[in-house]
């Protein structure tokens, strides 16, 4: 080649390689997963892994090129890989600086449903006892605007929050007035079963740009069995409510979540079809959480992680098949994980962040003025474990609550990069710290991971997604789209 130097002239002088932080996980007999500090992944053979760790690598090869591209090895004098890793790490953690943005108001613990899996609600007419008072709401709003976050989302929770709609109106109006001074990006969400939706509520939501988050467990028989109410018409009311919100407020104003029960496990396709029939193309295939009545009634023990994972895989395969046929459905949990796998963005989903999202991403103001580090923390308290009660709005200041040991200890102890078995797990960049789950199931913030359903369930999801991403080009394209949304 005419006066031009060969490629070998641009290889490092010697095959002296330094290892940058990376972790590995045996995937199958002949495949080992490598992830770098920020979760970029590649697969190698066990023999190649051996060559890497014993630093028997040549100056250039396909493997060397891939390892350098993914910032797993470097030449001793190279600075760029570290600069780029620092940039990516900073990007991944940038949401931490924002601090608490989700503020949940439990405006009433009362509910007209009597779902066996429900963690918290009360069937009671004792308004005075289970509704949030105006004085408590006012104090909670003060706390909300003490958060340094530029984005504030106020979510109304229950029980069934529409049972105390007057207070919701008051809080929304007061928050808007306060925000004229604070000028934050302020949004509202009502988490409701929609059974009590009426025109007045719809008008108010339209006027104040309020989003609706509802529960839809799947087809009518499944939903109504999971979610009993007087008249047995929960599904009909929810579906009608979804239709009315879509038509009057806009299709993007309503989202739905499902709760998986033992009865759902054989019917993922029907659940997904039900969502599509109601115009909702984001489906969140959730596991059942181990809190509240769910434990008392043994619903939680009714199926294990493997059973849930096969349900999840069947659902995901069906969603991929729908995408291939031109129906763009998204599985929300996979989309969250894939964003963490394939980009430097951390979507900040509370159950999948480390440090944990409790308190510093989301916080709960209970009807009685108690402040909890998370919604699950409040559910745990209803079961008698008040570990995650950070204080009370009427007794404690913002500083006392945010700097309480009840918040700082679980944040500190559960941090995945220093938790046993998490710190050297190849999936750590995709996973999160969930001190509330481990407190509920094992009685401490960290838990023993081999016994943790949180760990085995998420490992299962990560393996499944990586496997499909590597082996199925059509799935890869869909996954890239989810990661990029």
């Amino acid at each position: 080649m005419l006066e031009f130097a060969e490629q070998t002239a641009y290889e490092p002088a010697a095959g002296v390689w330094e290892l940058l932080p990376f972790r590995f996980e045996r995937f199958s007999m002949n495949r080992v997963l490598l992830t770098n500090m920020v979760g970029e992944h590649m697969f190698v053979t066990p023999r190649e892994l051996d060559d890497i760790v014993s630093r028997r690598l040549p100056t250039n090869s396909t493997l060397v090129r891939q390892l350098r591209s993914k910032h797993i090895i470097r030449q001793p004098d190279e600075r760029l890989p570290v600069t780029l890793l620092a940039l990516k790490t900073r990007t991944r953690l940038s949401r931490l600086a924002e601090f608490t943005s989700l503020h949940m108001f439990v405006v009433s613990l009362r509910c007209e449903h009597s779902c066996p899996y429900c963690q918290v609600s009360r069937q009671s007419s004792d308004k005075a006892h289970f509704d949030m008072s105006e004085a408590t709401a006012e104090r909670a709003l003060e706390m909300v605007f003490e958060s340094p976050s530029d984005n504030i989302k106020i979510e109304f929770q229950g029980g069934e929050p529409l049972l105390n709609f007057g207070l919701i109106e008051r809080i929304v109006r007061d928050a808007e007035v306060l925000n004229r001074h604070f000028e934050k990006r302020l949004t509202f969400v009502i988490a409701t079963n929609l059974a009590l939706l009426d025109d007045r509520i719809l008008d108010f939501c339209g006027d104040h740009d309020i989003f609706i988050s509802t529960s839809l467990d799947g087809p009518a028989d499944l939903h109504n069995r999971n979610r009993p109410r007087p008249g047995g018409d929960s599904w009909e009311r929810t579906v009608d409510g979804i239709r009315r919100v879509r038509e009057t407020l806009g299709a993007d104003r309503v989202s739905a979540l499902m709760t998986t029960t033992a009865a759902s496990l054989d019917r993922p396709k029907e659940v997904i079809d039900c969502y599509l029939q109601n115009g909702i193309s984001n489906v969140f295939l959730r596991p059942l959480s181990p809190y509240g009545f769910a434990i008392k009634t043994k619903s939680h023990a009714a199926y294990d992680v493997d059973r849930w994972l096969s349900f999840y895989e069947e659902g995901l395969d069906y969603i991929l098949e729908l995408n291939a046929r031109g129906t763009p459905v998204t599985e929300v949990y996979a989309a969250i994980v894939l964003k963490k796998m394939l980009t430097n963005d951390d979507p900040g989903y509370v159950d999948l962040t480390s440090p944990a999202g409790i308190g510093i991403r989301a916080i709960v103001y209970n009807y009685d003025g108690d402040v909890y580090a998370s919604d699950e923390g409040r559910m745990l308290a209803e079961m008698g474990d008040t570990t995650f009660r950070l204080g009370n709005l009427h007794e404690n200041s913002y500083e006392e609550i945010m700097l309480s040991d009840a918040l700082l200890n679980p944040l500190d102890e559960s941090f995945a990069l220093s938790a046993p078995m998490c710190s050297d797990c190849a999936f750590e960049p995709y996973c999160g710290a969930d001190p509330v789950f481990h407190q509920a199931t094992q009685g401490d913030f960290v838990g023993r991971k081999p016994l943790s359903a949180f760990c085995s369930r998420n490992m299962g999801v990560f393996r499944l997604l990586l496997d499909k991403y590597e082996s199925d080009p059509a799935a890869r394209e869909v996954f890239l789209g989810w990661a990029g949304r």
């Binding site: 080649m1 031009f4 641009y10 090129r65 591209s69 760029l80 780029l84």
Partner: protein, 397 residues
Amino acid sequence: MISLRGRAVATCLEAPLSRTTWMLTTPERATGAREGNALLLANGASPLPGYDLYVGTDEELWGSIGNYIALPRQLQYLTAGDVLTTSVDGTRLRVLWRHRARQNSILLTERCNHMCLMCSQPPKPNNDDWLIDQAFELIRLLPPWTSTEIGFTGGEPTLYGERLFALLRLCRNLVPQAPVHTLSNGRFFSNDEFAAGYAAVDNPNMMIGIPIYGSEPTLHDFVVQSKGAFDDTVSGILNLVARGQRVEIRVVVHKQTAPHLVEIAEFISRNLPFVEQVVFMGLEMIGFARANIDDIWIDPVDYKEILYEAVTLLDRKGIRTLVYNHQLCVIDRRLWPFAVRSISDWKNEYHPECLKCSVLHDCGGFFFSASHRFSDHIRAITPRQDDSQPALLTLTH
């Protein structure tokens, strides 16, 4: 293909020309002689007095008016608003600006600190500062409402340092609406002060196109034939983006880079996702590309799947991605929406097979230099009844 150079058919000068860069105007458009304006005389137009130079097609005007140059046939397409450069003796002519072109490329220098295996404009070491001097003159001659893109190329324009920034400032001040695109290997921007100097031009219509040929140093450094290039270039991009500058990444696809396009796309998406756009460029088979044809040439059909995967990866992740210089018949149909008719009209050609093609008007065609090596797979696209992706076909029929 349009000619940009020629020799005057006849020249009559009263004295050597006082300048070499001229904005053409016509008697109908003229608002009085202005420095640097040359009056273009079409057939029968009566010449207005007072211009330093007259340009025409009519040899008979020779000697009857001041300085006069008769254009050769291949340059007779010139109209008012175009800019012509002349040698001092008025014999050698070059078109510097065509106001009707989608984009004008202005060569600032042929010097370069890289020697890319596939360079279409092989570097020459000689001082050619007169090129940037003419660019300054050109910008001064352009009307203030100019909104067609100004493209500065090389060689390596950043070798001028502060002088390039001065040119860019002049663009910002005199033609603020014109997009200004500079092609650079980006290395000097790894110096903070240098990046700050470029950013200080502070023109939101400015974009810089920088190539990346690998996801790690060895491949990139080999392609550009310079050790340390990858680290400098990537650092330079980071410095520019940190200062709010719009950066385009260009990946020229050839035999050395084609097998690695997906890795390169992955690298960009993870490490440089904030760039304005990523462009995959087909080869221009001249210069070193022709000399190194055995190590450079690859039939686009042979990287069809890889290109599809690389473009899809970037696009799905929300990074604007384009494909330049590729014929529609050699890329995956699903990439048609990404394909841009990018070849400058003056060096654009088509293959005989193209005359039968139904999507000819949407296709970028070829560089005139492509005749040195056509893909073996150039095939006319004929409309299909069961076309699953009819977008381009239906729009043109």
